[in-house]
C-alpha cells in the first residue's frame, strides 16, 4: 500500500497578537490507505489541531505534509477547500448538523459543492443514510434525533463524498456508552468491511483500541506509535469493558 498521508517534522504554533502558543512539535509519521489509526492523548495535547491540519481545515507552521504524494502545505485556500470537498469527511464530537434541517438535507450538504445533478445528490445521500442504518429517519429533522442517531447522520454526511479518509474527533464524547459503542462498531465496519481509511481522535484508551494502530500525543509531541494487540482490539469491539 502507498502512503496516503506523510508528514515530516510538522510544527504548529498559534500566533495571536504577539502571544505565540506552540502546539505541535516535529511530528513525523505516515498513514497508508485503508488503515484505522487512533490519535490518543490527554486534553490539550494537540489532537484536534493535528486532525484539523490533516483534514485541510488548518495549516501547518513548518514541516511538510504530503497527501497522495502532493505537497499540500503550499495549497491555496481554494485548493484546500477542494481537498475538503473531495478527499475527506469529518465527524465531530458536537455532531455539527444543521438545525431544523432534515436528515437527507444534512447528508446532502457536502454534495452541494460538487458538480453533480440534484438527482444524483439525492441518490447518493439516500445510500449514505442507508449505510448507517437510518433509512427510516431520512425525513426527520436533525433535532428530532437521539445523540447516537445524530452521530450516525454525521457519519453518513462524512461518507457521502466517498472520501479517501474519514476523520472522527471524539465521536463518542457526547454519547452514552451504548450509543458510543454502536458508533465505534460502525466506524470499525467502515474500515474492515468497506475499506475506508479512518483516523480517530480520542482521549480514551478503550475507544482508541478499536483501531489497528495508536499514535500517542503528549504536549504536542509524538510519544509512541504502536499497533494494538489483536486481543485487546477484539475486546474493545465486543464491548467487554475492563
Amino acid at each position: 500500500m502507498t502512503d496516503l498521508i506523510k508528514i515530516v517534522k510538522l510544527n504548529k504554533q498559534y500566533e495571536n497578537e504577539d502571544v505565540v502558543t506552540p502546539v505541535l512539535h516535529e511530528l513525523s509519521f505516515n498513514i497508508k490507505s485503508g488503515e484505522f489509526v487512533s490519535i490518543i492523548g490527554p486534553s490539550g495535547s494537540g489532537k484536534s489541531t493535528l486532525m484539523h491540519i490533516l483534514g485541510f481545515l488548518d495549516r501547518l507552521s513548518s514541516g511538510e505534509y504530503f497527501f497522495e504524494d502532493k505537497d499540500v502545505s503550499k495549497f491555496t485556500e481554494d485548493e484546500l477547500a477542494q481537498m475538503r470537498s473531495q478527499k475527506v469527511g469529518f465527524v465531530f464530537q458536537q455532531f455539527n448538523l444543521l438545525p431544523k434541517t432534515s436528515v437527507l438535507e444534512n447528508v446532502k450538504l457536502p454534495l452541494l459543492y460538487v458538480d453533480i445533478t440534484e438527482g444524483e445528490r439525492d441518490k447518493r445521500a439516500r445510500e449514505a443514510v442507508k449505510s448507517v442504518g437510518l433509512e427510516h429517519r431520512v425525513n426527520y429533522l436533525s433535532n428530532q434525533l437521539s445523540g447516537g442517531e445524530k452521530q450516525r447522520v454525521a457519519i453518513a454526511r462524512a461518507l457521502v463524498n466517498n472520501p479517501a479518509v474519514i476523520f472522527a474527533d471524539e465521536p463518542t464524547g457526547n454519547l452514552d456508552s451504548k450509543s458510543g459503542q454502536q458508533i465505534m462498531k460502525l466506524l470499525y465496519d467502515l474500515n474492515t468491511k468497506e475499506g475506508h481509511t479512518v483516523i480517530l481522535v480520542t482521549h480514551e484508551t478503550y475507544t482508541a483500541e478499536h483501531a489497528k494502530r495508536i499514535l500517542k500525543l503528549k504536549d504536542g509531541n509524538l510519544v509512541s506509535d504502536e499497533l494494538v494487540p489483536e486481543d485487546r482490539r477484539q475486546n474493545a469491539i465486543s464491548g467487554e469493558l475492563k
Binding site: A81, R84, D115
Partner: protein
C-alpha cells in the same frame, strides 16, 4: 454549484427568517415606490399643463409684447422692466389683421386682459375681464352652453355685450338663466348674451371665472386705449412653422419700424406651444431629478439597512457558514450565496416597490380626475427599468461587505459557534 442551488438556498433562508427578510426589504420597497410615484406624477403634471394649453386650441403661435432691450444690459432686463410696469403699446388690432393675411395662418385673435368687479342685480364677483376678438372661438376649445358668442359686427360697433364663464354665471345669477340679463362692469352696463360650459380645474387661471367682452368695446369703452397685449394665431402646417415665425417677425419689425439687424430691439416675442412644452420639460425635469435624487438617498438608507440586517444574520449563521466551508464550500461559493440572497431581497423589494408605486400613482391620477384635473396616468418604461436596475445594484453594493465577511470566516472558529 449551480445558480439554481443558490436560489434554493436563498429561498430556504428567506422562509426561515420571513419577518427579517421582509423588514430588510422594506426600505427598498419604499424608496423604489417613491421613485415610481415621483416620475409618474411629473408626467401627470406635464400632461395636465400641456392639456391646459391645448384647451386654448392647437397649432398656436403666440405673439406677445415685450420691452425692447436697451442694448447694453443683459436680456433679463426686459422681463424686469415689464414687471416694473413698463407698458408696450405698439401691438394693435391692425397688426393682428396683417398677421392673419400671412400664408400659413388660419386665423387669429387679439386680446387684452385685466381684473374687474362684475355686478349683477343680486351679487358681485371679481372676475378676469378678457377682451378678445370675435374670432376667439374659432381657435379656443371652449363651448357655449347658453346663448351665443359675440360677432365681428358687435366688436366693430363697440357693443356692450358679455359672455360669462360658468362659475361667474352661477355666482352672479344662481339658477336664473343669465342670458338677457345685465351686468355692470366699471360703471357700464353689459348685456349677457352667452354662458360657457364648465371647463374644469385650471392651473394658471380659472377659465370658468372669466368674463369675455369684445376687444374693441374693452379698449374704447373702458380702458381708453387701442393696443392689445397679445395676438394668438393658429397656423395650418407645422412643417412650415419656422418660416411662419420668421414671417410674423419680419412683418411686425417692418410695421413697428424696428432695425431688422438687431432682434434685441424687438418690442414683441413670438412663441409656440412647442416652446411651452420644452420649458415645461426643463422645469419638470429639474424637479424630477431633485426628487429622484432624494429617493436615491432613501435607497442608500434602505441599502445600509439591508447591510446591517445581513451582517447580523451572518453572525447568527456563523456555524452554518463554518460547516459549509468544512465540507468543501469555497470562499467564492459562500460569497455568491450571500450576495445572491442580498440581490434577491433588493430585487423583490424593488418589484414590490414598483407595484406599490404604480398603485399609488394610479390612486393619485384617480383623485386628480375626480377633482376635475385632466390628469393622465403614465408610468414611463424607463422609470421601471431605472428602479429595477437601482435595486439590483443596491443589493450588490450593500450585500458585498457582509458576504465577504461570511466568505472569509475561519471554519474551525465558526464551528465553535454552534
Amino acid at each position: 454549484m449551480l445558480t439554481k442551488d443558490y436560489f434554493k438556498l436563498a429561498s430556504v433562508s428567506f422562509r426561515r427568517n420571513l419577518l427579517r427578510t421582509l423588514l430588510s426589504g422594506l426600505g427598498i420597497v419604499i424608496s423604489i415606490a417613491s421613485v415610481i410615484v415621483v416620475i409618474s406624477a411629473a408626467q401627470g403634471v406635464k400632461g395636465f399643463i400641456i392639456g391646459q394649453f391645448d384647451s386654448f386650441g392647437s397649432n398656436l403661435l403666440q405673439t406677445e409684447t415685450r420691452v425692447p432691450s436697451t442694448g447694453s444690459i443683459n436680456s433679463g432686463d426686459s422681463a424686469q422692466a415689464q414687471a416694473l410696469g413698463t407698458v408696450i403699446t405698439t401691438l394693435t388690432l391692425d397688426d393682428m389683421l396683417a398677421i392673419r393675411k400671412l400664408p400659413n395662418i388660419v386665423t387669429n385673435y387679439g386680446y387684452q386682459m385685466g381684473q374687474a368687479v362684475a355686478t349683477s342685480p343680486t351679487d358681485k364677483k371679481t372676475v378676469m375681464l378678457w377682451g378678445a376678438s370675435a374670432t376667439f372661438l374659432d381657435i379656443d376649445t371652449g363651448k357655449i352652453k347658453e346663448g351665443r358668442f359675440y360677432t365681428e359686427e358687435e366688436d366693430a360697433s363697440l357693443t356692450r355685450v358679455a359672455v360669462l364663464g360658468s362659475e361667474v354665471a352661477s355666482e352672479l345669477f344662481g339658477d336664473i338663466n343669465p342670458v338677457g340679463q345685465t351686468i355692470k362692469i366699471k360703471q357700464k352696463n353689459f348685456e349677457v348674451i352667452g354662458v360657457f360650459a364648465k371647463r374644469g380645474a385650471a392651473l394658471f387661471f380659472n377659465l370658468d371665472a372669466v368674463v369675455y367682452v369684445p376687444v374693441k368695446t374693452l379698449q374704447k369703452q373702458i380702458l381708453g386705449t387701442d393696443y392689445v397685449s397679445a395676438i394668438t394665431s393658429q397656423y395650418r402646417d407645422k412643417s412650415k412653422l419656422t418660416a411662419t415665425i420668421a414671417d410674423v417677425q419680419d412683418l411686425l419689425r417692418a410695421r413697428h419700424n424696428i432695425d431688422l439687424s438687431d432682434p434685441d430691439k424687438d418690442d414683441f416675442i413670438v412663441t409656440t406651444s412647442d416652446d411651452v412644452a420644452n420649458i415645461l420639460d426643463t422645469i419638470l425635469g429639474g424637479f424630477t431629478i431633485l426628487l429622484v435624487a432624494l429617493a436615491a438617498i432613501s435607497l442608500i438608507v434602505g441599502g445600509v439597512g439591508i447591510m446591517n440586517i445581513m451582517y447580523v444574520s451572518i453572525l447568527e449563521r456563523t456555524f452554518e457558514i463554518g460547516l459549509r466551508k468544512a465540507v468543501g464550500a469555497t470562499r467564492e461559493q459562500i460569497l455568491r450565496q450571500f450576495l445572491i440572497e442580498a440581490v434577491l431581497v433588493t430585487t423583490m423589494g424593488g418589484i414590490t416597490g414598483i407595484i406599490l408605486g404604480v398603485l399609488i400613482s394610479l390612486g393619485i391620477a384617480g383623485v386628480a380626475k375626480i377633482q376635475g384635473f385632466a390628469w393622465s396616468f403614465v408610468i414611463p418604461l424607463y422609470s421601471v427599468i431605472l428602479a429595477t436596475g437601482f435595486s439590483i445594484v443596491c443589493g450588490l453594493i450593500f450585500g458585498l461587505y457582509p458576504a465577504r465577511r461570511a466568505a472569509e470566516l475561519d471554519p474551525i472558529e465558526a464551528l465553535r459557534k454552534e
